[in-house]
Structure formats: C-alpha cells, structure tokens
C-alpha cells in the first residue's frame, strides 16, 4: 500500500496544479485536495498506477514543471499517463470539481415510459416509416 511523504505530496500538488489549474470558476487540483486523502483513494482503486505515478513525480521534482513534464511525456509516456490519470481521476471524484463542471455522476434519473416521445408527435419517426423498407429481401434465394 502506498505511503507518500508530505514532500512527495507537495511535489505532486504542484504538478497537478500545472495540469489542472484554476480556471473560469473551476478549482485547481490542489484546491480540492487531489494530493491528500484523494490520492490514497485513487491508489486504492488503481494500485497498478503507483509505479508509473511515482516515477513521474520523482522525475519532475524540480522547479520547471513545463520542461520536466514535456520531457517526461517524451521519455516515459507510461509514467506521464499514470500521472495524468491519477490527477484527473482524483479531481473528477471530488464533489467540488463535479459541481463546477455540472456533473451529477452516473445517477439514476427517473423516467416515465408512458410519456409520448417527441419524435412521435413531431412526425420525425413517421417520415422514416413513410420512406419504406430499406433491407434487401432474400426470400427469392431459398
């Protein structure tokens, strides 16, 4: 099981904010805590990402996130993919990010099967029917 140091988490937070900054009412990655308990939650769900994720964060622990991340994407695409998957996966599991993008999750919204669909009342489906069959019949080939 992962045990990330505070220093490691801080480095990850910096990288995550470079990938997902604050923008147009959307919080930055660290503002929703992707580097805190959410990081442990992501690792619980996807332990397979840990090796690549660690490689990515350790390779990009300097001062120039742009240069380091671009170099990583070219030299170790698997590590870069692990980093971006951990960051976006964690971010989009937070209530704050979901609310900011208008995502309620894969919810079960009720529906009424007796309600007449619009395509029946506005004639759209009738036009398909009126154009007639489009399949090739094969009964003559018996």
């Amino acid at each position: 099981m992962s045990a990330f140091s505070n220093e490691f988490r801080a480095t990850y937070a910096k990288l995550a904010d470079y990938l997902i900054p604050e923008y147009n009412g959307k919080p930055a990655a660290s503002a929703v805590g992707v580097h805190l308990e959410m990081l442990d939650e992501v690792m619980r769900i996807r332990p397979d990402l840990e090796d690549g994720f660690r490689r990515a964060v350790e390779a990009c622990a300097g001062q120039d996130a742009s240069a380091e991340l671009n170099a990583l994407a070219r030299s170790d695409s698997a590590a870069f993919a692990a980093l971006t998957t951990v960051a976006t996966g964690g971010y989009m599991m937070t209530d704050e990010a979901r609310e900011a993008v208008g995502y309620p999750g894969q919810d079960a919204a009720p529906y009424d099967v007796t309600e007449t669909p619009e395509y029946l009342t506005n004639g759209m489906l009738q036009r398909v029917i009126d154009r007639g069959p489009i399949f090739r019949d094969t009964r003559h080939l018996k």
Partner: protein, 546 residues
C-alpha cells in the same frame, strides 16, 4: 474417497449468451446438464457504475481486455500480431456481464453474402428460418424497443416499452431526419419496466462496466438461478484444459478441467457443447489434439481457429453548444441507423455497417471513449493540459453525441487463433495467440461510414466533430473460428452446430458464424443457439451420443 464423476446428458463449456440459452432449454427439456464456467459469479453491487470511481476502475479491473485486467480467472492472449485487441470477460454470464446490451439482429442479406455480393460464404440457413428463434430470445432477454423498424422485415414486438432516447439520441436523430436517412429508437436487451426478475434500466450509461441495477440481460441474473431449480448444475471457476475424446467410440466423452483450487477434475457427458467464444473455443479444440486429431480436435478441415473476424469499429463524435446530458444512458444504444448497411459497390467496398448512437460517458471519457485513449496527446503537453484541459471539458463533456460504427469484417483464413508456444494461464494451460490484420475492404468501409456519420452530425448542428476511423481497443465481437457449413472440407460444423468429425461434439457460440454481418452479434448468437438447441431436443432420440 472421492465419488467417480457422474456422466450427464450434456456438458456445456461457457456460460455466456449461447451457453446460457443452451443450458436453459436443454434443462427444461428434462436433460441432465452441467455447465463449466472458467469465471466466477459477479454481484451487481460490485460493479463500479453507481460509484464515483467508475471511470478509473474501467481503466483496469473493469477493462474489457483480459490482457489489461490480468485477473487470475482471465487467460492472457498474445496480441502482438493483431491490429485489434480482443475483449471478453471471465464470469458466470460470460462477456454479457460487460456488454452494452445493443440488440441488433442480423439482416436477411447477412445470411446470403455469397449469393448477393459474391464474397465469403452463404449461411446454411436464412433469416426467415431464424426469425421465430429471434422472437423467442427477444422475450427471454426482456428487451425494450419500438416495433415497426423498416430496416427489417416485419416481426413481433418487444416485451417492454422503449427506453427514452434522451437529448443526445434526439440530437442524433435530428441530423438523420434533415438528411432523410434511416434511424430508429434503440432496441436494447434491458427492460424499461420490471420484467422477469430484471430491474428496469436506470439510464446510468455504464453498461460496459457491468450493470449495477441488474437490468441489462446476462445469464447470471435470472436464467441460471431458474435453471438450478430444474436440476441444472453450474460449476464456476472451472477452467477446461481439454475435451476428452475416445478413439474407440469416436466420440467426445467429457472434459478435463482445473477447479478453483487448482485440482484437475473430469466431467463425463454423452454430448459436449462448446460455448467458450471464438477465441476460447478454438483454444480448447487446439489444446485437445490427440492421435486421431493431431492438428486439434474436430479439425480435419484445418479450419479450427481460422477465419477470425473482429468487426471494424470506428467512432465519430459531434460536439454541440447545448447541454445534452450525454453522460446519461442507456449505453445501450439510444438510436441506430441501417441507412448504409447494404452493399453499394460504387462506394469502393462491399457490405456495410450499423451505427449505434450512444451516450459519451463521464468527464474522463471526454478525450476518449469508455476508457480507450482515442485522441493521442502530441506536441507540447500544454496543448492538452492546463487551461486547455478545462476548455476541452467545457466544450465536450455533456455536450457530445456519438456514432459507434460497427462494420462487417469478411472472413480470411490468415486471420486466426493459434496456441502460443510459451504463454499460459495461471493453471499452466497453453494460451492463445491471435494473428489479425484489418483488411482493405474494412478500411474503406470505415472511411466511408465515418465521413457519412460526420455529415449527419454536422446536419444536426455540431460545432465540431472528432473522427476515429479504426480503433485498436475495440475487439468486442469475436467470430468465425469454427464455422458452420454443408461441406466438411470447407467448414467445421454442420448447420446445427455439430462437428462434421465428431457426432456428439457441438459448437454454438460465435465461432460457428460463417460471416459476421455489420451488426452487434449477440441477438443473432442467442437466436442461433435457440435454433440449435431446438433441433437438439427434437432429435435427442436419434442423437449419436457417447
């Protein structure tokens, strides 16, 4: 001392759609039936679709590729020589536990491609003979849909009403309407109201990660539980190593399998029916080579494993200004079209494709599709990350309607399943190797259909589109590796799915399909299994059993 294994009337290998139909019908007919399934039971509450983690989990433990999941119950597949990654699931219910529930019966022309288009082979039976069996299984799966589709000959309706097509489905339909092209509300193997023990679809849109609502049909939900009451026995975690062949009798007499504790066991049977999918079935047959069949059991034709078909799969997304709630399901097809299904040689290829209008998934799927990395990052990372990542989410998430294009793949002997020289599963059973190259016909077909799909999205008012004409991560449909036919030199099975070589050995899964059509195959798979089981029952007295 362990009791000797009891011989049963029928041994079925595999509990997916065809195996479950066979198990139900033969048990109901009074036969003693055992089904061996390499996977174990899933509980719908285990599926990630109703949990926040569903997209993350879909990248690994709920990924459709056994090579990605790499679970102990999966067998690995050497795909280094394949253009397409095969998908399947090891579970009671088989790959139907993670299918999309698209119910798209093959069309009449699909059974007569040699006669109509001069390619591949005709089936030994036709659409009209299969139709009553199709109508029977449409009841079995608690389907929901709208009767009267002019894409098909007339047929009986569906047991439950249409599931709403949603804003995304309506947007796709508007584009087709403007162009005067065919479309129809999506027919799905899931009820819209409580039906036969299945819950109504909740439109979560997570069908391909397992249905947490226990709505989408798979054999584990109801069918096997009902069959158990009639005496059917399902052994989960049973990995078949080989079919036992008695050279003196000239018959199959059962199977050797490895149970969940790693013990070798035997199940004896008067008849053996393989329903282990078009990679698993030839794997078992090739692993069952013996003196009488040195190139693989039931393989005097040399065709076991050959003619593997995997539908060419393309994706065209339209990104709209308005909120379409495009994470909402079913997923499950919202609508579909057969406008360009039939051959028109002026297009530069033969045969055609069905398009399924689908929901676009959650936010992580905005730059891909159900876990697949469709649009590769390139250039500097800032093109896709930072502020641009937020802009991509703003422009695509919830605002995307997509067409998933399933095209016909013609059979070619060079596309095949072999036994790998080194790779094994966790029980040491030799694993398969797949050699598969996408044909020029398939490439042209997908290019044409992608272009038309793009036109329809633009007609619907898309402000931008994204096209992926051929995806490696798309091997949902595996077909053709032990095909039906009337000529033993050119087919493995007779028209009832019985081996030409061994009269009590049957294959009723997608391996048996001579051609693959341009449509999701499960509806036709189950209808064919229903036909074969009906014949088996009706002729049981004359059967040449072990």
């Amino acid at each position: 001392m362990a009791k000797p294994p009891k011989e049963v009337d029928v041994l079925i290998v595999g509990s997916g759609p065809s195996g479950s139909v066979a198990a139900k019908m033969l048990t109901e007919a009074g036969m003693s039936v055992v089904t061996l399934e390499q996977g174990t039971w899933f509980d719908p509450s285990d599926y990630p679709g109703d949990k926040k983690e569903f997209e993350l989990a879909g990248g690994k433990q709920w990924n459709p590729s056994p090579n990605v999941r790499d679970n102990e119950r999966d067998y690995p597949i050497n795909t280094t020589e394949s253009d397409v990654e095969p998908y399947m699931q090891s579970a009671v219910g088989g790959s139907a536990t993670i299918w999309a529930g698209h119910w798209v019966p093959f069309l009449p022309s699909d059974f007569k491609v040699r006669s109509l288009d001069g390619v591949a082979v005709d089936w030994p039976f036709d659409y009209y003979e299969l139709l009553p069996h199709l109508e029977a299984v449409e009841q079995l799966v608690s389907s929901s849909g709208t009767q009267g589709n002019p894409g098909y000959p007339q047929q009986a309706g569906y047991p439950t009403p249409q599931i709403p097509i949603g804003k995304a489905g309506m947007k796709l339909a508007e584009g087709m309407d403007k162009l005067g092209w065919h479309w129809w509300p999506g027919l799905n193997a899931m009820p819209s109201i409580p039906w036969q023990g299945q819950n109504p679809c909740a439109r979560r849109g997570t069908c391909m990660f397992g249905c947490p609502e226990a709505a989408k049909w798979s054999g584990d939900l109801v069918l096997f539980k009902e069959a158990k009451k009639l005496g059917h026995r399902l052994i989960a975690g049973a990995r078949v190593r080989e079919i036992i062949y008695d050279e003196n009798l000239g018959r199959a007499t059962g199977a050797i399998y490895i149970d969940q504790n790693g013990r070798e066991r035997r199940q004896l049977a008067k008849n053996v029916i393989l329903c282990a999918n078009a990679i698993g079935t030839p794997r078992i047959l090739l692993n069952s080579a013996c003196n009488a069949f040195p190139d693989g059991l039931a393989n005097s034709s040399g065709l076991v494993g050959k003619n593997l078909m995997m539908h060419p799969f393309g994706l065209v997304m339209g990104h709209f200004e308005e909120d379409l709630e495009s994470w909402r399901g079913p997923s499950g097809q919202l609508i579909n079209t057969l406008q360009f299904y039939e051959t028109d040689e002026s297009r530069g290829f033969v045969r055609g494709a069905k398009w399924g209008g689908m929901s676009a998934g959650g936010p992580l799927s905005s730059k891909g599709f159900v876990g697949a990395e469709v649009f590769k990052d390139g250039g500097r990372i800032e093109e896709n990350w930072g502020v641009n990542w937020h802009k991509m989410i703003e422009e695509k998430f919830g605002k995307t309607a997509l067409w998933a294009i399933v095209g016909e793949d013609l059979p070619e002997e060079a596309n095949r399943v072999l036994i790998d020289d080194e790779l094994t599963d966790s029980d040491g059973i030799p694993a398969p190797r797949v050699i598969y190259k996408t044909s020029e016909n398939s490439r042209r077909l997908l290019e044409f259909h992608s272009a038309r799909a793009k036109e329809s999205l633009e007609a619907a008012g898309a402000k931008s589109t994204s096209v992926m004409p051929q995806m490696r991560d798309s091997g949902w449909h595996l077909l053709g590796t032990a095909r039906l036919g009337t000529d033993p030199s050119n087919s493995v099975l007779d028209e009832f799915g019985r081996s030409h070589d061994i009269p009590n050995l049957y294959v009723w899964d997608l391996s048996s399909f001579p051609t693959g059509a341009g449509a999701n195959p499960t509806a036709t798979l189950m209808a064919v299994a229903h036909r074969q089981a009906t014949h088996f029952i009706n002729n049981a007295r004359n059967a040449e059993a072990a």
